[in-house]
């Protein structure tokens, strides 16, 4: 038998994180499933003896350090924990903005700082960091979330540049809307803000991540589906057209 590998999955109580944790558990990984939602975590770990649940706020650096110290070597990180309230920029309480930045951006920093040194020491590992297409294409009511995810992108780019050739593979995954419980709730609440789009199935996003891990390490960004790829390209080469289109689909009438 090959040695058991350990994966740390954040945001593992629902959506992308939960599915990532289950697929890794199915594949025989030891999975450390992290979230704040104990009920959701228990559901993810149900009848999975190789899934271990940990309640932890990724926005709390000390808690993340303590968690990772107790886990032992982590071979893959799937960092999916994030929050994304839909609020107009000037109406969003500052505390709320800080909270989004702490969870979405600093959460990523905390997880990377706790796990990457061990990977560098061992000369290998995989860091899958979830960003969002919103980081390249901010739309109304996503200012704090998009800003935090854009920060994740540049942080991942700098990190990848600093550690090129180290054996640690970094992926910055930028999906468009993903069909998760969180997205469904947001879309039901505010169809205009989510562009009246149907989310892409989470399994498809994770398939794209799996395929990306087989590509050369320098291939940092993962745009999981064709529509996401087209929008990301169009945003670069035809920003005016994209702005007009986004304005149309996100207008409330």
């Amino acid at each position: 038998m090959t040695a058991v590998r350990t994966a740390l999955v954040t945001g593992a109580a629902s959506g992308l994180g939960a599915l990532a944790a289950r697929r890794l558990a199915a594949a025989g990984w030891d999975v450390v499933a992290v979230d704040l939602d104990t009920g959701g975590l228990a559901e993810t770990a149900r009848r999975s003896p190789n899934t271990h649940v940990r309640v932890c706020d990724v926005g709390d650096a000390e808690a993340v350090n303590a968690l990772v110290a107790g886990v032992g070597p982590v071979h893959r990180v799937v960092h999916a924990a994030a929050i994304g309230p839909l609020v107009p920029a000037l109406e969003q309480p500052l505390e709320d903005v800080e909270n989004v930045l702490r969870t979405d951006f600093l959460g990523t920093v905390h997880v990377v700082r706790a796990t990457m040194p061990g990977m560098l020491e061992r000369g290998g590992g995989e860091l899958v960091l979830f960003s969002s297409l919103a980081s390249l294409l901010p739309v109304p009511k996503t200012s704090a979330y998009a800003a935090a995810k854009a920060a994740v992108n540049v942080y991942a780019e700098a990190l990848a540049a600093e550690h090129a050739g180290s054996g640690v593979v970094i992926r910055c995954v930028c999906p468009r809307q993903v069909d998760t419980p969180g997205f469904r709730a947001a879309a039901a609440d505010d169809p205009a803000a989510t562009g009246r789009m149907r989310g892409v199935p989470p399994g498809l996003v994770l398939d794209a991540v799996d395929r990306s891990l087989a590509r050369p390490a320098r291939d940092l960004y993962v745009f999981p589906d064709p529509l996401t790829r087209v929008v990301a390209l169009a945003r670069r080469w035809a920003p005016g057209t994209v702005r007009r289109l986004v304005g149309q689909v996100t207008s409330s009438r």
């Binding site: 038998m1 697929r23 199915a26 594949a27 009848r47 999975s48 199935p201 799996d210």
Partner: protein, 245 residues
């Protein structure tokens, strides 16, 4: 507290039937095999292989990733033969349609202990512990089964073309035979994201008693009838009933 009817104690937990699988992904291949040799392989069950063409039976190989279901997350590989429903009671309801072709599960390695115990005790499925690696994200789906550190077999399934999943949930009977007892398990499947093509399988057989049996059927030299992949499969498994053969 006594277990309610249809509840089975497994590893300190209770599995209640029907067992539901909410999210699985599958790749499979069907091979034509010599009927007499196939019949000899499954003779222990008392069942009879279906012969869709004279002298030919059908052997089906499949690999499944269970992501969300009542038996937890795990990988599975299945070796099955299409069989005739056995005659005699308990069998077709007198006014119902005749029972359809069934799938006799000959070998069913899995990689997790919970499903291993549940499968063997609840339905008599021939589950065995194995190391099962899968790539279901690429266009060609791949699976490698290793038992006790030795390769048993490796199956590659090439991409097909999308086909309609059909309405409703087709129901099949799964047959198993453990410790001399043959059982029938009613089984429903609702697939989504189905692709098929003729041929399209590559099978490498290694060193395992079942691999030797499949080699004896000429499976490593036979072109598959067809292959299929299912992105999202929901299934239910009912209580097994003993069949007299």
């Amino acid at each position: 507290m006594p277990a309610p009817p249809g509840a089975h104690p497994i590893q300190g937990d209770r599995v209640v039937l029907p067992v539901e699988i909410r999210d699985a992904a599958v790749a499979s291949a069907m091979f034509p095999v010599p009927a007499a040799a196939a019949q000899a392989v499954i003779a222990y069950s008392g069942l009879e292989v279906v012969r869709p063409l004279p002298g030919r039976a059908v052997c089906s190989l499949a690999f499944v990733r269970y992501a969300d279901g009542d038996l937890g997350p795990y990988h599975e590989f299945a070796v099955a033969f299409l069989v005739r429903p056995p005659d005699g009671p308990p069998d077709s309801p007198p006014d119902g349609p005749p029972r359809k072709v069934g799938a006799f599960i000959h070998w069913l390695p899995v990689n997790q202990a919970f499903t291993l115990e549940a499968g063997r005790t609840i339905w008599g499925f021939p589950k065995e512990m194995a190391d099962i690696r899968m790539d279901l994200a690429s266009r060609t789906k791949r699976c490698l089964v290793r038992v006790d550190g030795r390769t048993a077999l490796e199956l590659h399934v090439r991409p097909g073309v999308p086909v309609p999943s059909g309405r409703g949930a087709p129901s099949v009977d799964a047959y198993s035979c453990m410790d001399g007892v043959t059982r029938r398990t009613p089984w429903t499947l609702s697939p989504g994201g189905v692709r098929m093509r003729p041929g399209g399988a590559l099978l490498k057989l290694g060193d395992h008693p079942v691999a030797h049996e499949l080699r004896g059927l000429g499976l490593d030299r036979t072109r598959a009838l067809s292959v299929s992949t299912v992105d999202r499969l929901r299934m239910t498994f009912q209580e097994a009933a003993e069949v007299r053969t």
